[in-house]
């Protein structure tokens, strides 16, 4: 028998500090960058306070997720950590052991198989892609996908380096920190199961956004050709979305909520318009949540899901499409029908 999987619960961890766009832009003396907030739609981002890092965000998000879940830590069969940054103890990058092993230990998930993956901003959805393969084979019953992103240090680096509005580090100013986690569970209900489709890496675009550890200062540095990567992602994702809809036997207008990767307001809107030109129909709502959080890398989709669950915006049986576009260039789609999870949030 081939099993399906569904999202059982979602948890997040909000970092302790707030950095507003006006505070950030106040650090520059170049007039063009002052329009940044208007263009990106980001009013503020949450950033790590003292004592917080990628690990603590991931760990706390995992605990929050378990708080919303019917499962206990010892019932978790697998934990996959998907964060790009692996900072533990400030800006000290942990190579080994894996974050997931340490999170498993901290939660008391004694029997969980643990490993980390890394696939840029598509990390958590890649985690879903991998977990779904294990569910289908019947190897696991539960899986926690977790990520903690401490990427505001890229923004700190960019502030020092940006001299013109054409700087390749300008995209770093959109970044914010966050932790997110989700528990997936086995289900035999075909209708509620996740449909994972079209995950592909278009590697000819892989040099358009590169993030690395900084050699000479703490943290990292990210260089992006934002216009090119945005255009490539929008154009190349159309056939992927089409294929995913065909796989589910749905039209684009049957999607209640489209949750794309949260980069900037203008790029999400232009992407939605491009889809309209192609499909001649729209999803009911396109979710934009970056006003108060910025671009939180691999956590954006689950953060948006959590926010809308808490605000009671979702209804049972709403069709939701998670669309990832990440450096690589990674494109993939996850479609699912909202389950009774809506009853457990927003009280």
């Amino acid at each position: 028998m081939e099993w399906k999987c569904q999202i059982e619960s979602i948890g997040v961890k909000t970092p302790g500090r707030i950095l507003t766009t006006s505070e950030l832009i106040g650090k520059f003396r170049i007039p063009c960058i002052r329009k940044f907030g208007l263009l990106t739609g980001i009013n503020e981002r949450k950033i790590c306070s003292a004592g917080e890092d990628s690990f603590s965000l991931a760990e706390d998000a995992a605990k929050n997720c378990l708080h919303h879940s019917k499962y206990h830590p010892e019932e978790l069969d697998m934990i996959i950590n998907c964060s790009i940054t692996k900072y533990k103890g400030g800006l000290s990058h942990l190579y080994e052991p894996s974050f997931s092993a340490l999170i498993g230990k901290s939660l008391g998930a004694r029997k969980a198989i643990t490993f980390d993956i890394s696939n840029a901003c598509a990390g958590m959805l890649t985690g879903v892609y991998i977990a779904e393969k294990y569910f289908r084979q019947g190897i696991i019953r539960t899986c926690m996908i977790v990520s903690g992103e401490y990427i505001s240090n890229l923004c700190t680096h960019a502030i020092k380096k940006i001299r013109t509005p054409l700087s390749s580090e300008l995209s770093s100013l959109t970044l914010g920190d966050y932790g997110a986690a989700a528990i997936l569970e086995r289900t035999s209900d075909e209708k509620k199961g996740l449909t994972v489709s079209g995950f592909a890496t278009l590697s000819k675009y892989s040099s358009l956004c590169v993030g690395r550890q900084n050699r000479n200062s703490p943290g990292g540095v990210m260089k992006t050709k934002s216009k090119k990567i945005h255009q490539a992602a929008i154009t190349e994702s159309v056939p992927v979305v089409k294929e995913a809809l065909q796989k589910c036997g749905m039209s684009f207008s049957e999607i209640t909520w489209l949750i794309p990767h949260q980069t900037s307001r203008s790029s999400i809107i232009s992407g939605a318009n491009h889809y309209y030109d192609y499909f001649r129909e729209r999803p009911e709502q396109v979710v934009i949540t970056l006003k108060e959080t910025g671009n939180t890398a691999s956590t954006t989709h689950f953060l948006a899901l959590y926010k809308y669950l808490e605000e009671k915006r979702f209804h049972e049986n709403d069709n939701i499409m998670l669309l990832c576009m990440a450096s690589g260039l990674v494109i993939g789609v996850v479609i699912f029908r909202m389950n009774d999870m809506v009853k457990r949030y927003g009280h």
Binding site: S92, E96, L329
Partner: protein, 302 residues
């Protein structure tokens, strides 16, 4: 439908002026593996990189995507193709168990009928030249190409055992600070391995191996070959002694105090692949061990 190993390739950096780079090593070994198996890079459904120590500690894109770019770029020039290959690439970070975790994921995708073939690349090199302490890992890379097999040949069962009580035996991290030889502060990598780590590895491996054999309902005598991790340094030798298996547990020749990390099991596989012992063995066990401590095992049938 099962999954079999179609080809295995390994590579060490050639002696030269340049500092070894994990991306170039990974791309070179992946290309070599595909050429040896006569497979088109575009037909890979999954490409997974399992290396831990990556060039300049690149966070994004995934190293696998950069390797994919390098292998498909050259293929496009050769064949004049312009269509993008339908490959999905990502990185796994699971210490010394990464190679086997990657194989398990590809095995699952082949078994589900999602892909026809996939490749795991495991390559490690010092992230920043000269900016590490206690870095005893050989610059090396390996690629394992997996294909579907029609019969019962190939991988049969995968199991991972975790021992969280030993999570502090090996800790590898980078930190920002001064060293004895540098006037300015730099991000430096430091690998801290406790003296008891090899013993703990052997203890966990033996416990896991016998649990695994119990589940398979076979005895150790029925195993023809064990292909283990080669890190920590004394691990294969100690495990061989403990299990009382002489030539059947593969150990690589020593390279001083340096070890083969994520690529280690593939180097051991290559050794028996070339001398035909792998193909002549009925039951082969892959046993990998990584920090955490995690032990991954699988049975391969010929």
């Amino acid at each position: 439908m099962g999954t079999e190993i179609k080809m295995v390739s390994v590579i060490r950096p050639s002696v030269g002026f340049h500092h070894p780079n994990s991306i170039s090593l990974g791309a070179r070994v992946a290309r070599q593996c595909l050429n040896d198996a006569d497979i088109d890079p575009g037909s890979l459904g999954l490409l997974i990189n399992a290396g831990v120590y990556r060039y300049k500690n690149t966070g994004e894109p995934a190293i696998a995507a950069l390797i994919q770019k390098k292998i498909t770029d050259r293929d496009h020039i050769k064949n004049g193709r312009i269509d993008p290959p339908n490959t999905f690439s990502f990185d796994i970070n699971n210490g010394g168990c990464g190679l086997l975790t990657g194989i398990e994921i590809i095995h699952g995708a082949i078994k589900n009928g999602d892909i026809a073939c996939g490749m795991v690349v495991a390559g490690d090199a010092e992230p920043f030249f000269g900016l590490s302490e206690n870095f005893n890992i050989n610059s090396a890379a390996a690629a394992v190409l997996l294909d579907k097999s029609g019969d019962s040949k190939g991988f049969s069962l995968f199991r991972t055992y975790t021992f969280p009580g030993y999570s502090e035996e090996l800790v590898s991290s980078s930190f920002y600070g001064k060293s004895r030889f540098l006037r300015k502060c730099r991000n430096r990598l430091n690998i801290m391995q406790k003296e008891s780590f090899p013993d703990a590895c052997v203890e966990c491996s033996v416990k896991s191996l016998f649990s695994f054999l119990d589940e398979l309902k076979i005895s150790l005598n029925e195993i023809d070959l064990i292909i283990p991790s080669q890190n920590p340094l004394e691990f294969p030798q100690m495990l061989r002694k403990r299990l009382g298996m002489n030539g059947s547990l593969i150990e690589l020749e020593k390279t001083g105090n340096m070890v083969f990390h994520t690529a280690g099991p593939a180097f051991a596989l290559k050794k028996v692949w070339d001398d035909k012992r792998f193909h002549n063995s009925g039951n082969v066990i892959f046993l990998t061990i990584g920090s955490g401590i995690n032990v991954s095992l699988t049975l391969y049938k010929n």
